[in-house]
Symmetry: C2
Subunit: 269 residues, 2 copies
């Protein structure tokens, strides 16, 4: 029997009462302090994906990181606040010791074919096979991904020099390979290291406060993407008085826009 | 006695029990169907701004439009889900007839000076005084703003031609003038007409599903901005199977980044 993928292990939730699940942090997804935010976001979304009253697939998700998760158990509380004919609005909390550690809202929807256009085009970059794979990863969660940086790698030396911009482009996929679904796509959407480290090249404490994901791909497009690489691009916009934001896009190898995602991070100095 | 500004009339909330306020939709902020989303967002935020347990100023706000607001009364329910030393996480619902019409989350924080950098620079554009003011506005809420389009105005004729891009740039401020604060800034952040109309030049039913605002400006910077114009820029990224997103930035006349904001909209065909 094949052991479950480490992503599936991490997002496994045990049902309690309706809309309440119990999960556990997973050592293989640890960040420097607490778990990788992307896996926490995927766990919060899974509370919706498993919900018996769910309508449709994710269109938007906002996850707010209210406190560092402690290692161990947590509960996910997912509530459909409003169900319409083709859309549904969710409020989610992840709790430890009766306190919210994550708040989230989401929209799920039944999608149907319409006119379409993709204005955010994938940049011209080398193919994944032509880009060297990153080695020597220092945090555990990053070892869960095959990453191939094209531009804006994490600084090798912390020289405090301004790189002039904070744009990163990399190819990324689950390692070992796993067919893309909404949970894994949510986790991957947080793959970028802090833009501050690139822009300032100074190792400053930093952490995501809020992350929003817009899912442009539907289930059929995810199935077609399979276990291929995603091109992930992020760039900072403003850095001011302890908060910075980034705007990011993810495309599949065919150049289709899969996700646009944004986050705001706290930084210390 | 000077009558209150129409924005202040619209966001006026009457306290009920702690964390619950009663408001009313305002005819001067009407959109084609229901109220202007920006004023609804400002009303939801006001539930936080008025809350006696609030810590700090807004850093992030996500507002999900779960249903069209009916004309008349609504209640705003704002709850601090987690209060830390310098940040606070909020869950908000706006309800009519005991049903959620809006869900929202927000982060407020005490900010302090740090290193800073502004990577999203204001584009070089004519000054507000050199750009003609928009006339002949067809929806009520738009008359609450002095708008001066530089690029990407709403199509004068609906010819169904692809404009090739969906970027809009305009100068905007409250009309009559009003010193900028977090409520008015929230309302202005939704000022863009749907990117679909620009890109496709076809009048298609469309409505915002979820909007996120990151506040880069603190209270002192808003005070310095005063009643000056904001340069507002928005561009669509993906349009697919009934949903499109836009990424937007607002700068003050001094070129300081005030807000970055994103939204995902539903469209019909």
């Amino acid at each position: 029997m094949t052991p479950p993928h480490l992503l599936d292990e991490a997002i496994a939730l045990a049902p309690q009462e309706e809309g309440v699940w119990q999960g556990r942090t997973h050592a293989d997804w640890a960040n420097m302090i607490g778990p990788y935010g992307g896996i926490t976001a995927a766990q919060a979304l899974t509370g919706i994906l498993l919900h018996p009253r769910r309508l449709g697939d994710p269109v938007a998700l906002t996850v707010n990181f209210a406190a560092a998760l402690a290692d161990g158990e947590f509960t996910v509380h997912a509530r459909p606040a409003r169900t319409n004919r083709s859309t549904q609005h969710w409020i989610v909390e992840v709790r430890q010791q009766e306190q919210a550690v994550v708040t989230a809202t989401a929209v799920t929807a039944l999608r149907r074919p319409t006119w379409g256009e993709q204005e955010a085009r994938m940049p011209t970059v080398p193919r994944p096979g032509d880009v060297p794979r990153s080695r020597g990863k220092r945090v555990e969660w990053l070892k869960r991904y095959d990453t191939r940086f094209i531009e804006g790698h994490i600084p090798g030396e912390w020289e405090g020099q301004d790189a002039g911009h904070s744009r990163t482009r990399l190819w990324v996929r689950d390692d070992p390979e796993r067919a893309l679904d909404f949970a894994s796509l949510t986790a991957i959407s947080d793959v970028f290291f802090p833009r501050l480290w690139l822009r300032r090249a100074k190792f400053t404490p930093v952490g995501t406060v809020s992350m929003t994901i817009y899912y442009h791909a539907d289930a059929a497009q995810l199935a077609a993407t399979g276990s291929g690489y995603l091109l992930a691009q992020a760039q900072g916009q403003g850095f001011r008085n302890g908060y910075l934001d980034q705007a990011a896009q993810l495309w599949n190898e065919a150049g289709e826009l899969i996700v646009t995602t944004h986050q705001i991070m706290y930084y210390k100095e």
